[in-house]
Each structure stands twice: as C-alpha cells, then as structure tokens.
Amino acid sequence: MHTMKLLAGAFAAAQLLAPPLASAQSVLRIGMTAADVPATTSQPDSGFEGNRFTGITLFDGLTQWDLSSADKPSVIIPGLAESWTIDAKDNTKWIFRLRKGAKFHDGTDVNADAVVFNFDKVLKKDAPQYDAKLVAQTTPRMPTVMGARKIDDLTVEVQTSEPDSFVPINLTNLFIASPAAWAKTKNWAEFAKSPVGSGPWKFVRLVPRERLELEKNTGYWDAKRVPKTDRVVLIPMPDASTRVNALLSGQLDWIEAAPPDAVAQLKSRGFEITSNPYPHTWPWQLSHVPGHPTADIRVRQAMNLAINRDEIVKLLGGYAAPAKGAVPPGHPWWGNPKFDIKYDPDQAKKLLAEAGYGPGKPLKVKVQISQSGSGQMLPLPMNELMQQQLKQVGIEVEFDVLVWESLFNNWRIGAKDPKSNGAHAINVSFATQDPFFAFARFYDSRMVAPRSVNWGWIQDPQFDKLVADARGTFGGKERDAALGRLHAYAVEQSSFLFVVHDTGPRAISKRVTGYVQAKNWFQDLTPIVMK
C-alpha cells in the first residue's frame, strides 16, 4: 500500500514536471548527426547533412533535386532557373533563364545580379564577397565552372573550363544568398548570424552549437512547397545514443541515422523507422597500380564475387541494400553491365586460379579502413566480415586501420604515394548522385593526386573516352545513356569492390506525417504535417 502511495506521488510529480503543452504553432524538432549547426553562410559545411538542413531549407540553387517521390530516382528539376540550355556555338557556355517573381526573405528580387554575385563569392578572387571558406565548401562540387555573367535581368551565362554536361547537377551545390543582406556587414560570418535566402524556410534564431530555428516562408515562389509546419528546430547531436534518448524522452520528433542496435527499442516504443536506398556506395576502391595484384581484372572480379552481401545487410539490421555497382539496377545510369556482381565463390576461386593464385600461393591484399566516419556505416564489423568471406576463396586481407581524417588524407594522395603504405584498396564510402562524384573523379586519368581522388591510378583510355563522352553529351536522356555506358564499363572492369548502398534509416515519431523519404541525400521537410 505504501509503495502504491509512493508511486502515485511519483506520477503526480511527473505530471508537474512534464514539459508545458506545445504552443499553437506546429514545430518539428530534428536531431542531426553533425557536431554543430552546419554553417548558415549560404554554403554549408558538415558534408551533405549541411546542405540537407541549412542549404536547401534556407536557400535555393539555380537547379534543385526533385524530392517528391520515394519510388522514382531523384532527378534535377528547375530551381531559381526556370530553364537552361547549352550555347549551340560554344559548349563551354550555359544560358540560365531565371524565374520571374522569386524573392529573397528580405523582400529583394532574385535576379541576374544576385546570381552572378553568388558565383563570384566562390570564383572571383578580387570580388569583395570572395571567401576562402565558401570556396572550400563549393568549388570541389562544381569543378569545371569558371564564372558567370549577367546577360539581362533574368538571364545569366555560366562559363566552364571544358564542355561539361554535369553542370546543372553540380549547380545544386551553389546556394543563392541575398546580396543586400550580405552588404549590411560585408562579412559572411556576420551574414551567417541572420542568413537571408529565398528558400522555403526563413531564419528565426541561431544558438551556436545548440540549435537553429526556422519558420515557414509563406511567400515561397513554389506554392506547392510552402511548408505545412510552422517551425523547424534543428539540433546538433553527434552522439547516437544521446539522439535516441532525446527522441525516446519526447524532446525530439525525428533523428537522423538511427543506430541499428536501437531500432528494436525505438519500434517497440511506437517510433517509425523510415529508410530508402539512396545514391550512396560503400566500397573498396581498388588499386590499378602496375605490380599490385588488384591491377589484374581477374583478381578484381574475383573479389567482387567473393562477397556475400546479404550477410553484410543482415549485420546492418537490414538497413542497407546489396550493391551491384555504383548505382542500383533501374537507375538511369545503370547501363546494363555484362559482368554480374553477385555472390559466387566458386567462380571467384576459378578466376583467382587463372590469375595464378591458389592454396600454394594465396593472394594477399592490404586495405586501408577507418574506425568510424560519416557515411562509413559500421566499418570495423563490416570489414571483418568481408575479411572472413574473402578468406573462404583464398584471399588474405590485412587491414591498415586509420582514423577517419587520416584515411581521407591517404585517399587524396593516391595508391602510388609511398605514404599510402603499399595499400591495394581503400574503404571510403561516397555519394553517387552527381556523376562527377560517382564516376569522373575516380576514372578520369587526369584526376590522380593532387587533382582529385583517382586513388587507384586508373590510366585507361577507354575510361577517359567514356568520361569525355558523358561530359560532352548535353541532352538529358543522351547524357544518362552515356553515363550508363561509363557505369557498365566500370562494373565490368570491377574497378571497385562494390559492397552495399546505405538506406538512410531515420527514426520519427508518430506525430510526424506526410514525410516522403526520397532516394536522395537531401530530404524535403515542406510536406510534413505535425499531428
């Protein structure tokens, strides 16, 4: 009886301690994996999570991703530019026609001057708004874009260093900020304290390292994407268990990257786990350096056939999809490769025997991996499982385990560099929604260090031709077909050991309705309705 009284007292106290009832405004509270609120300078840091939460929310690009479907591959659609064409006489010039009537949150017009101002902030060294940090966040994502000039109030010409059909995709990474807002302080760090874009969400408040609050932009130029929730609160929470606890205790409505070991508990407490394969690949990038065993295509194909991807997916609690290439079958860039990546250990052994390896002469490979890292999923257990699977076909794997930062530095220097410690493969996961990221930087022979991350030193004229074809083919469907041919050749060459695609698990409360998880790194928060 006494215990009952105590419990009753405790619950009464709990009522008193409970947070006050939500105000009339509907609020969506999201726990991000970033350690800080991504930069609000108009060019976010924190990788693509930054673009997801402080890029496409506050700002628009000339082009944008279609995030409206969970089934179809996400494609490029008009953003602040209504249409674009390549200059028929000069394939290094693009003409972008801007949308009439689009306005920044401060009421100023989005026009050609504003667009050119934003190109100049990262490309024109003598422009007052040029900023090294913004450059770092942007130029690697639009490597051929050289500059822009105004043709008339609603027309802008964009120049590139070479013919490049990837430009409309690359330009989703250049966010258009209000020049008038920047002019108040002429300093991007100051601008970041009260950023002004033209996106579907408007800035309300930033508490550095703690939270960013946004409110709906009722005057957004795309009436269909005026947010259905009044406010969004974005909270950085790098620790996965802290995010889970905050969700379970009712402090959040949504968490990014729900850890696989918490999924059962979250589901049992009524939270929904959403997931959908998106353009992400978790591979081993293989060395083509002469003298390395992986320079032999038979070895590379054998490695691809030795991996039981279903077991890896099981290890990840089902939140991954087996990879058959850099993009999945059905994707516009799939291209029907002749080599089928699947689990076939017998064929793997046969190929290794043809390459001169067998019980008497085991194949030894060294792989550089990380302990953790953004997009790396669960690198240690995944790699250890692969090590066991490869041993079954006679491949002995030695790991060179590095911290995430060092792995990146090794990625940049390439397999030939003495500092790469003789590694034959490197495990860096990557985004594949942009063809430069998915293909060009890995296969183009010019992209070896220090220019980019052709880590494996692929020097194959066929790859060069296919990359140049894809870059130089300007019709949407024709370009996709050219990319398909490039992808098919990459799979046939097995330049990577393709393992899985992430499915981006998120945990959301039942109060969140209307969310469509697009097959994309970015997600649209505008259709969400809070119940």
Binding site: A14, G47, T242, S249, F408, I413, A449
Partner: protein, 317 residues
C-alpha cells in the same frame, strides 16, 4: 605575502606558454590537419594546399605559434576555423553554461560529501561508517558517463520525468533560473557530482577520524567542553585540507566534463573541447585549453591563499 603572491602570479607565464606549446604540437602531431574543419571530404590535395596558404598554415609551426601567442597576450584568441566566430565569444558562452552545471554539482556534491564525511568520521568503525565508505568507494569507481546514461534511461526514457539533453527548450541563450529550465540541470549535475561527493566524503571522514584521535581533543573533552565546542574545533582543524580538496574538485567541475557534457548535450567547455578536437579546430582548441590551464593555475593560487588565511602555520612556513 605580497611577494609570495607576485611570485605565484609570475609562474602563470611559463605555465601558460608550456601548455600552449604542448597543445600546439599535439594538434600537429595528431592525424588530420587544422583545415579538416572547413574542408569537405571531397576536397582535392590541390585545394588543400591553396587553403593552407590562405589560412597561413603553410608557414613554419614556430612562426604560427609565435603569431598566436602574440595575439593571445592581447586577449585575442583568434577566430574559430570551423564557425568563423571569435573564440572569445564561443568560450564565454561555454564557460557560463559550465558554470551553471558546476554550481549545482558543487552545491549538491559538497553538501552531501561534507555531511557524509562527518557522519562516517564521527561514527568511525560503526555500520554507519561502513555504509558511507562503501557508497564513497562506489562513487569514485563508477564511470560517470555510464551513470549519466543509466540516469537518462531511468528518468528520461522510462519515466519521462526529466529531460534527457540540452539546456532548455530555447537553448542556453534563453536560460533562466526557473523550474522550466532547472529541470534540465538535475541529471547532469547529479551525474557530475558523484565523484566529488565520494572524494570529499572519504577525505573528510579520514580527517575527522584523525582529529578525533588527537590528544588535544581528548584534552578538550576532559576540560569539559561541550560536544558543540569540540565539533567546532574539529571543523576548524579539518577545514584547510577539506577546502583544498573542494577547491580542486571545484576546478574539475568548472573545467567541464567532456563525457558528461556530451552525454547530456550540455553546451559547456567540455562539449566545446570535444567538438574542437573532433573538428581539429586549432584556434578553438588552443583557446579553450589555455583558458582551462590558466583557470587551474589561478584556482590553485586562490586555494593556497585561503588555506593560508585559515591556517596560520602555513603562513609561517
């Protein structure tokens, strides 16, 4: 006394320089580089070299260090590479947040530690002493980040009585000393106070037991001094050492705890330090460590001075 104070204050200069130099070297020895904070993963080696030049990281390390020290002595700790915000303002905000947490952890931990220590010391050897000592041993042994997680699971996740993370619905900028905000400090403060409570309990217990066994106490009792009078003598004799221990514990608490502040997403100096380490944000890391090092030096000085005031024997030596 003045000479002693001046001498102790002068010690701050070599200590500050040594701490800064070690910290500076460690950051450069560690994998990654100070530009990791601003560079996306896909940045090429070419761009990294260009940015190194832009930020001045291509210059020799002693030159970089010299420039930093020259600015630091003028009170300018530089600009965070990751955020572009002044380190001074980042640090000021974090210090005030850690102060809130340390205030509650001290209030709770010191009070409980003193009470338990006196109880165990006065009733030395009894079952009461054994219970208190066992609790104290458990207190110093339990990893506090683990305890934090357990408390969150019980009080936030299971019962939903107290919030799990943060400093309130509006963040630290809207902190107020009302219940709506104070409830956020309870779990981290209790977690953080466990170790100081246990240390103070054990120290005070040993001190009290020792003092009670001294001849002067027997003499005081024989003289017919009341229990209260004897207690007062015990307090006075235990105070300098207890105060020194509390001072050091206060220092630890004010220094912020990386683990506890991370578990509770409490935006204090510990959290700031952990972010700075992971982002390799060199100016932020340098500034935070320098501040914490100098803070400890001054705190030790303060404790020494208070001890001297309380115990004339120290002054004589």
């Amino acid at each position: 006394m003045l000479l002693y104070l001046v001498r102790r204050l002068l010690y701050v200069i070599p200590i500050g320089l040594a701490v800064s130099a070690i910290c500076f070297s460690l950051v450069f020895l560690a994998p990654g580089d100070p530009l990791s904070a601003v560079l996306p993963a896909d940045a090429s080696l070419e761009l990294i070299e260009k940015l190194k030049a832009d930020y001045g990281f291509d210059r020799p390390i002693p030159v970089q260090f010299g420039k930093w020290v020259a600015r630091a002595v003028q009170g300018d700790l530089g600009i965070s590479i990751a955020t572009g915000r002044p380190v001074n303002s980042e640090l000021a905000r974090a210090i005030s947040n850690t102060f809130v947490l340390a205030f509650f952890a001290c209030s709770f931990g010191f009070t409980l530690g003193l009470v338990l220590g006196f109880i165990a010391g006065y009733w030395n050897g009894t079952w009461l002493d054994k219970v208190v000592t066992s609790l104290a041993v458990a207190g110093v042994s339990v990893p506090h980040y683990w305890l934090g997680m357990v408390l969150v699971i019980i009080f936030s996740v299971f019962f939903n009585w107290l919030p799990a993370t943060g400093m309130g619905a509006g963040g630290s900028s809207e902190w107020a000393w009302d219940w709506e905000h104070l409830q956020f400090v309870i779990l981290p403060a209790v977690t953080l106070s466990v170790i100081p409570t246990a240390i103070i309990t054990r120290t005070v217990r040993a001190l009290v037991a020792d003092i009670l066994s001294r001849e002067f106490v027997t003499a005081l009792i024989a003289k017919g001094l009341s229990d209260r009078g004897v207690f007062w003598h015990v307090v006075k004799n235990a105070a300098p050492t207890a105060l020194a221990v509390m001072g050091i514990q206060l220092g630890y608490l004010l220094g912020g705890s990386i683990l506890v502040e991370t578990v509770f997403a409490w935006p204090g100096t510990g959290f700031l330090l952990s972010v700075a380490i992971f982002q390799r944000d060199l100016p932020l890391l340098q500034g935070t460590i320098l501040f914490l090092a100098l803070f400890f030096v001054f705190l030790n000085l303060l404790v020494d001075m208070v001890q001297t005031l309380l115990d004339p024997r120290i002054r004589r030596t």
